[in-house]
Symmetry: C2
Subunit: 369 residues, 2 copies
């Protein structure tokens, strides 16, 4: 037998910039054209954004090729939508020298990022997130994907954007429910990385809820800094990046079991409460934090009640299919204290025995939260 070694060259250290500001959307297209000279641009947005003035502000007089995801939301986040977009791009005869712009919330960003990653083996993507959840979380860090009929982001890749533009004025057209649910990711960032930020959120919640520019810019920058510092260390989620999954193991499960009737943020709020219950069961303390969190979620008008239709069996079945499961049982991210994740033997995602998880699910399903 003969052996041939094929070298894969190292890729150089690289970076991208997140610009955060208020009311600067009309300047963004010019900046993108400078950043990606000669690229034909293809815009992906959704039916919600198409109704707002954000789209017009971004495109100005340019008649960009575009695809409007209809209906907006998780229901369209599947491979059929990806196929339709790819075929639309092909019909416009776009080559590998095109680039994708994503204008919208998490669904738009996830779909557009995935399309860019797989279109003719990859073209650049620029993310312009317009929701609290996308600005805090999904537009940064390169996770993209679409759901299968069985699980969330079953199809996906890591695809870093070429640039991210966060204009907090886009948040002003968001309905209250979406706006508030997206703030759960900010709370998560504070919990895993920064106690002062947790205090800030509690103290400044009314300004945030009134959608004042100053606190909105403050939290956008804070979220990006926290998320960036995590993903820089572990872009492919081998270990430390998992801390961003705080509250998401049970959160994703409940979201999926509800057939996506729960908003992502609401599901993650339930997941964060679940993580806090597990922490207490493991003797890690945090009674005061659990009380503050319930109060905070209350102020956001987020119900912590798991929908009645969801059964324990369903939750246990879905949890065994977790993307990050090892031998069909997920690992959990837990807090050592507010602002710090528990790390054991260098690992940030930890085994929790089944009994404790099951007891926690029982508490959630009792709906006394």
């Amino acid at each position: 037998m003969q052996k041939i070694e094929v070298k894969i060259p190292s890729c150089p250290k690289n970076s991208y910039t997140i610009a955060v500001g208020d009311e600067f959307l009309p300047a963004v297209l010019g900046q993108i054209k400078k950043l990606l000279p000669g690229k034909e641009l293809f815009l992906i947005t959704d039916a919600n954004i198409a109704k707002t003035k954000h789209l017009k502000k971004l495109t100005g007089l340019c008649n960009l090729y575009r695809y409007v995801i209809t209906p907006a939301g998780e229901k369209s986040k599947n491979i059929n939508t990806v196929t339709k977009i790819v075929e639309q791009m092909e019909k416009k005869a776009l080559g590998r020298d095109c680039a994708v712009i994503a204008l919208g919330g998490g669904t738009v960003g996830d779909i557009a990022g995935f399309v860019a990653a797989i279109y003719k083996r990859g073209v650049p993507v620029v993310q312009i997130p317009t929701t609290t959840v996308a600005q805090a979380d999904s537009a940064i860090g390169g996770k993209t994907g679409v759901d299968s009929s069985i699980s969330k982001n079953a199809f996906g890749v890591f695809k870093n954007p070429t640039a991210v533009y966060i204009d907090v004025s886009t948040l002003k057209t968001l309905d209250d429910k979406q706006f508030n649910a997206g703030l759960v990711e900010s709370i998560k960032h504070a919990l895993i990385a920064d106690k002062d930020y947790f205090d800030y959120l509690q103290k400044n919640l009314s300004g945030i809820l009134a959608r004042k520019s100053q606190p909105l810019e403050y939290i956008a920058v804070k979220n990006c800094r926290i998320k960036a510092s995590v993903v820089e260390n572990d872009p492919y989620e081998k270990n430390k990046r998992r801390i961003l999954n705080y509250g998401h193991t049970i959160g994703h499960t409940v979201e999926s079991a509800s057939n996506y009737k729960l908003l992502h943020g609401q599901a993650v709020a339930i997941g964060i409460i679940a993580a806090n219950i597990i922490e207490q069961k493991l003797g890690l303390g945090g009674e005061e934090r659990l009380a503050s969190l319930k109060k905070l979620f209350g102020r956001l008008d987020i119900s912590l009640k798991v929908p009645k239709s969801i059964t324990k069996r369903q939750i246990l079945d879905i949890i065994s299919r977790d993307k990050k499961a090892v031998q069909k049982w997920p690992r959990f991210v837990l807090l050592e204290k507010t602002g710090k994740v528990l790390c054991k033997n260098g690992q940030f995602a930890l085994q929790v025995e089944r009994k404790i998880v099951e007891e926690t699910i029982d508490i959630l399903l009792n709906r006394n939260l």
Copy 2:
């Protein structure tokens, strides 16, 4: 406006090994298990391979999870097949700690590589190519993809395999037409990189066609070395890797216009002839080479006649959608001499004026070759 810089860490230089030999399939699974300890393995193969003894030789007594692509061939190379495989993997509750094994020809390798690249944001893939075309070309270098209704590999990514195992004994069950068509990629390698290899192929064709182990191993190693040396320098096809596309610009177009009734190798043979005609029109010479090529393709029983149903308009339409088109017109790889690609100003894919390409298409459509 505030700016946050997100660093993307450099990825370390890496490599994978291609093992080439005869009759070593029964040892491969053990080697994969050593290479990927603890990974749950998922085998992707097709209906043709399932009928041969190769599958049994590989799996032995192990009852691997598997998906058999049915029907075998280009018709199944689409996103529906990918979706079915992903859902099958999910039903087996495979997490991100699984790995994919591709046993089969180019279609199996392309589909399986793409599935591995996008399954839960990426799992490893091991390629075990069983056809002349896959052993010479598609299993090496990390190109994966599936076709849309409009073009070839419209969906795709670059995904390097973790290992490649080439057992030339698998070629013995291949039908003559497939076997011969796959040798066109060997001829292409010789043309772009190694005149001695071109002479070897002409001299040893009868041994190859008799499927003797010695020349089959020789050409497998030669093909891998040539392809590896190209992809190592330019894994993402920014420039030099394009030389592997010699004959493929017109080749892919004719293949697509025939609705994949032409075998890939036959289409590339037509594309190689087209490239030689363009070379002569540009005064690059090569009259002798064109004669040798016609003779060689004749010995392989490969018809150079473009199917009657294909029109010039169709070809020009498809060519404008070429993945590597710049402003809707493809670049061409051309030979300076046998074994050496023409390089102009550091570029290996060159502009050719439309008139010359159209005249060449006219010659092909006259069907006098």
